[in-house]
């Protein structure tokens, strides 16, 4: 490369004027030592340097769109300070946006003479932006006289009170710090006249509560002294109220509890967590439980309102109290009304409402039971309408007749149904039920089943009555026949004639029994078996809907039993046992009957039965005695019973009455 090429590349003017393209002048070829590269040789022999030299030049000063404003260390004052301290901070020159004028006081000029000199021209100093945050609590003010008259306290001297108030103001009522720094030393320089007093003074240990109580007391009183209560603003009044209501003892207690809470061990904490969980569970279930209880209260009839709320909150206002009184008054009135009614009304027939109302709560019950009598419903809720299904569920009935008997539980129906007034009859019913293979205690006593069960028991009772009656009549017929035979024997001599008793017999199977005339027990047994059969038939009719198949089975069994009853001794023995049981039960029955004044018609049958048995089992003395008693009791209905001669007549009369009664009863049942 030649030097001119390099110049071209670097854009430099050529060393000399451009030469015309003259034929090349033969330059003397200089040959350097071999082995050197051409460039190096060029450097050595050509004149022009291969690189250009550019004069160094500084970067141009940028052109700013604004004039730079310098910063300067500006002195400033602070109106929150009393000493006029002047500090300096860096501010933009001429920037006075965040500084208010602060007049220079002579004190200022003394304090910072050096700075003043810088700012000689300026007559004002800017105030600190932060001076406005200098907020202090109001210090309770009082004079000596005011202290003497209003604020005197035996526990606190005036000096200590002053110290406390100064400290409280210093620490802006941060009581924790005040307590920490409280180091009151009683009067070091006592006044001359109180010398002796001051020596005895000793610093009392003060708790935070003591200090607070004293301070609040002083502050509240001095507040009133400066500004009577009547002219206080609401916020001032609030503050006053808070201060007067401070209770140091309560605060102490609270702190004690807080400390205990903080010092819990891990186990205690765990236990507390468990208890809390339990509590939340109870609270969750409470709604449900409460609803159930409320329903129960509603049914049993308690004053409305009380069970619903379960709290006394509603009775805390005077209005609530008046309402409660009104409620109670109405209730009282209702009670009295009920009592009067009850007294007037005779003992009503036995109701079938299981939870029969007592006089007390009838009004309430009516209000629930569909509102038969709206007169008695009170309370804001009004009677609750039950659906048919609910009525069935709760066993609500709407009886037409008056109900008696007080409050009962429905489940009592289950046990009551199987019990008759007398123990004898109860056990007989039981025996009948065992024969029917129906348990005495129902396995599934729903309302429907119990109703059916009751019907069954009722018919068993009727059957038993009828059987008794037939036995009695049989006996009488036998007696009369025997007498007749005797009479005839007397009339005709020794000839004994047997008569057929067919005309008086009610049952078709009576024929067989006629053979054993004297052994009435035997006959009674048979009759019993037959009665049972009959009862069975009845039962089958009634229970047909429910248990058809069973009934058929039972029929078979019954026929078997009938066969065996006729021949086997075993059955006879069983029967005897039953009889013994009867005899034993008799005692209890009598006692019951003595207790009970209102006798049922059924009880009238007892003497008859006893008599019949007495005739058979002469050795059963107790029975006899009882029978006599009963006969005496029954004197009114059978006046001639005492006389053996007229006995037959009495019996007949009585049997007639029994028949009429039974027919009455059955007809009544049918009506029902």
């Amino acid at each position: 490369m030649m030097g001119s090429d390099a110049r071209d590349v670097l854009g430099l003017p050529s060393a000399g004027p451009p030469k015309p393209a003259t034929p090349k002048v033969q330059k003397p070829k200089v040959r350097g030592p071999t082995g050197m590269s051409r460039e190096v040789l060029d450097l050595k022999y050509e004149g022009a340097p291969p690189i250009s030299i550019v004069a160094p030049k500084f970067k141009e000063k940028p052109k700013l769109p604004f004039k730079p404003r310098p910063w300067e260390e500006t002195p400033f004052g602070n109106s929150a300070r009393k000493d006029g301290l002047i500090l300096r901070h860096w501010r933009r020159k001429g920037d006075v946006s965040n500084a208010a004028a602060l007049p220079v006081t002579p004190a200022d000029s003394n304090a910072a003479s050096e700075m003043e000199q810088d700012e000689k021209a300026a007559t004002t100093l800017s105030d600190s932006h932060w001076a406005k945050f200098n907020v202090k609590v109001d210090k309770p003010q009082y004079t000596d006289e005011q202290y003497e008259t209003h604020l005197k306290n035996d526990d606190w001297s005036k000096e200590e009170t002053d110290y406390l108030i100064d400290l409280a103001t210093d620490f802006d009522l941060r009581w924790i710090v005040i307590t920490d720094r409280y180091e009151y030393q009683p009067n070091q320089q006592p006044k001359e006249n109180e010398d002796s007093m001051a020596v005895t003074l000793q610093a009392k240990p003060r708790t935070q509560e003591d200090m607070k109580a004293r301070y609040y007391d002083v502050a509240a009183k001095s507040m009133v002294l400066h500004n009577p209560l009547s002219s206080m603003s609401s916020s001032e009044f609030d503050a006053h109220e808070k201060m007067t209501k401070y209770d140091p003892n309560q605060e102490r207690k609270r702190k004690m509890y807080a400390e205990q809470l903080m010092n819990r061990t891990d186990e205690e904490k765990y236990e507390e967590e468990m208890l809390l969980k339990e509590l939340s569970r109870i609270v969750l279930n409470q709604e449900k439980l409460f609803n159930e209880r409320k329903a129960l209260y509603d049914r049993l009839g308690t004053p409305p309102g009380a069970p619903q709320t379960h709290s006394t909150a509603m009775y805390q206002s005077s209005q609530g109290l008046t309402q409660l009184m009104q409620n109670l008054l109405t209730q009282n009135k209702n009670k009295e009304l009920e009592k009067k009614e009850k007294r007037r009304s005779a003992m009503g027939a036995e109701g079938d409402f299981p939870g029969g109302p007592s006089g007390m709560d009838r009004g309430q019950r009516h209000s629930i039971g569909g509102g038969l009598d709206k007169r008695f419903s009170f309370g804001q809720g009004g009677p609750r309408q039950l659906s048919a299904r609910e009525e069935q569920k709760y066993g609500v009935s709407h009886p037409n007749e008056r109900l008696t008997g007080g409050v009962q539980f429905r489940h009592e129906r289950i046990t009551k149904a199987g019990q008759a007034k007398s123990g004898v009859q109860t056990s007989r019913i039981g025996a009948a039920l065992t024969e029917l293979k129906i348990p005495q205690r129902l396995t599934m006593p729903t309302a429907k089943v119990v109703t059916e069960y009751e019907k069954l028991i009722e018919s068993i009772k009727t059957l038993l009555e009828v059987r008794k009656l037939s036995e009695k009549l049989d006996g009488e017929i036998k007696v009369w026949q025997a007498q007749k035979e005797q009479q005839e024997a007397k009339d005709r001599g020794e000839e004994v004639k047997e008569e057929e008793p067919s005309q008086t017999v009610e049952n078709e199977e009576e024929d067989e029994d006629t053979k054993e005339i004297d052994e009435q027990a035997e006959r009674r047994r048979k009759a019993e078996a037959e009665d049972d059969d009959e009862a069975e038939d009845d039962d089958e009719d009634e229970d047909e809907d429910d248990q058809n198949a069973e009934g058929k089975e039972e029929e078979k069994e019954d026929s078997d039993e009938e066969v065996s009853a006729k021949g086997s001794n075993k059955d006879e023995e069983e029967d005897a046992e039953v009889d013994e049981n009867f005899a034993g039960d008799q005692d209890d029955d009598d006692e019951e009957e003595e207790e009970e004044e209102g006798e049922d018609d059924e009880d009238e049958e007892m003497p008859d039965e006893a008599e019949a048995e007495a005739e058979v089992d002469a050795d059963n003395n107790d029975d006899n005695a009882d029978a006599n008693e009963e006969v005496e009791d029954d004197g009114a209905s059978s006046p001639a019973s005492a006389a053996p001669t007229t006995r037959g007549e009495g019996l007949r009369k009585r049997s007639a009455s029994v028949i009429s009664h039974v027919s009455n009863k059955s007809s009544k049942r049918q009506r029902r």
Binding site: L85, H89, R92, N110, W130, R174, M262, R264, T265
Partner: protein
């Protein structure tokens, strides 16, 4: 001045259009800087810097070197700063201006040291004009007052100084005297370092656990004020761990020697556990450094060891206790990996985990502390957990949960691995009903200079202007004003 530096920086930034031309709004951060200085003396180092900065610019050891003058033993030469005191000058001895309690012991030297701290890096003593410095005047009495006035190093900067929570009244008054009389500060403030550490974490209410070199202290702070009666402290801090290490090294078989760096001329690498092969420096008779110098240099080795090897047992339970899996925690610790460490002379060894844990366990469990005749065993009340409980027990009940929820960990010695976790565990076990929460910065600098940073924040606040004790107030009331104002 750094401010003018910032000023020029701002100008250049403005020139390139890279930054906003507006300074940050003072309302946004509440700052209003007045070129205040913050001085935070501690047992190990003294920190100083300008308020408003995030780290102290000047960090100087509180230890100083003393070279006794041969002619006049009373006028010993004092050496300050890392560069001077680590050189084994003839007969150099090392002392500390602070007492083991963290308060100033030697006020004269302390004033010198602090002045050195401030003037070496932050401000410069103004050169006195030749015309008026009086040196050339034949009569020395003429202009002395004016000279003194001008020579004061802090004539323009308000000074915020820190002190411990248990600093006594005399020392506090001495502090303001030094600042006002010696340095000519226009304004002064004395702040508790516990409060400042809490401020540095942004907490006005906190329980500050400051684990320094000589003292570990627990300071309850409520609304920026310490609760004096509840401040507790004990000497189980960084130097205690160093002593534990010395005992541990002495008791190991064979004893591990600590040879500081200055004694080594050259060394060759050796295998773990093998004897060191190094040539040692010798000193001519009469020029040996004082034993305190060697002790100080050994401390530096131990500091390195503490930083790299020592670890806090993080449970579960204490090192001396039983592990939940059965067996003792000591057995569990034996399974943990060790850490190698090489002494300055080339001797090196894998330090087993049990030793690493053992060295510091005494801080938490006094029974685990090693002891000998010179190092009596610590009492049960001196452990860190005992300090915290005793401090809490003297605080109002209402405040305790707040304090436990704001435990500020500060101090360079709290930088042991696992320290915060362990403390959290111990405290939570001691207070099962309260939530214990640690506020421990993950930044080494913030942990080391916590109280200085708090002071930097406080002194740069606009609202702090009204709190300064001005020179005028000092002249009016005397040094007693510190007790009245700095509460």
């Amino acid at each position: 001045m750094f401010r003018s530096l910032i000023n020029t920086e701002l100008h250049s930034a403005m020139a390139t259009g890279q930054a906003s031309t507006k300074p940050p709004d003072a309302n946004e951060y509440g700052g209003d800087e007045i070129s205040a200085l913050v001085l935070d003396p501690g047992y190990s180092t003294t920190r100083a810097g300008f308020a408003g900065e995030d780290v102290p610019k000047s960090i100087v050891p509180s230890y100083y070197g003393l070279i006794p003058s041969e002619s006049t033993p009373k006028h010993a030469k004092k050496l300050f700063g890392d560069n001077s005191i680590n050189i084994p000058l003839p007969r150099i001895s090392i002392s500390n201006v602070m007492s083991k309690e963290g308060t100033v012991e030697d006020w004269d030297t302390a004033a010198n040291l602090w002045e050195y701290t401030i003037t070496s890096r932050l401000t410069n003593t103004k050169p006195t004009p030749l015309a008026s410095n009086g040196l050339n005047d034949p009569n020395e009495d003429i202009a002395m007052e004016g000279v003194e006035e001008q020579e004061k190093p802090l004539g323009e900067n308000p000074l915020l100084m820190t002190e411990t929570g248990w600093n006594a009244g005399k020392d506090r008054e001495k502090g303001i005297e030094v600042a006002m009389e010696n340095w000519g500060c226009p304004a002064f403030w004395l702040a508790r370092n516990g409060v400042l550490a809490a401020f540095a974490s942004g907490k006005p209410t906190a329980l500050v656990v400051d684990m320094g070199a000589s003292t570990i202290s627990v300071t309850p702070v409520h609304d920026g004020l310490i609760l004096k009666k509840a401040v507790t402290r004990s000497p189980l801090a960084g130097n205690f761990v160093s002593n534990q290490l010395r005992l541990l090294f002495a008791s190991s078989q064979p004893p591990i020697p600590i040879t500081p760096h200055y004694l080594i001329t050259s060394k060759t690498a050796v295998d773990a556990g093998a004897a060191a092969q190094a040539t040692y420096r010798t000193f001519a008779t009469g020029t040996e450094p004082h034993p305190s110098f060697r002790h100080f240099q050994e401390e530096r080795v131990l500091t390195e060891f503490k930083e790299s090897v020592v670890n806090v047992w993080t449970g579960p339970g204490r090192l001396g206790g039983h592990s939940p899996q059965g067996g003792t925690n000591m057995d569990v610790a034996k399974q943990h990996p060790g850490k190698p460490f090489e002494m300055p002379d080339g001797w090196n060894q894998m330090f087993p985990a049990i030793d690493r844990y053992r060295a510091i366990e005494g801080i938490f469990d006094h029974k685990m502390a090693l002891s000998d005749a010179n190092n009596p065993p610590p009492s049960p009340g001196q452990t860190i957990t005992a300090l915290i409980s005793s401090s809490l027990s003297q605080v109002d009940v209402d405040l305790r949960p707040h304090l436990l929820g704001n435990i500020v960990i500060t101090g360079a010695s709290s930088w042991y691995a696992g320290f915060t976790d362990r403390l959290q565990q111990e405290l939570q076990a001691a207070h099962p009903g309260v939530r214990v929460r640690m506020v421990a910065s993950g930044q080494m600098v913030e942990r080391k200079f916590g109280s200085w940073i708090g002071g930097s924040i406080l002194a740069s606040l606009g609202t702090f202007h009204q709190l300064w004790i001005s020179k005028k107030e000092y002249e009016e009331h005397g040094p007693g004003i510190v007790e009245k104002r700095c509460k």
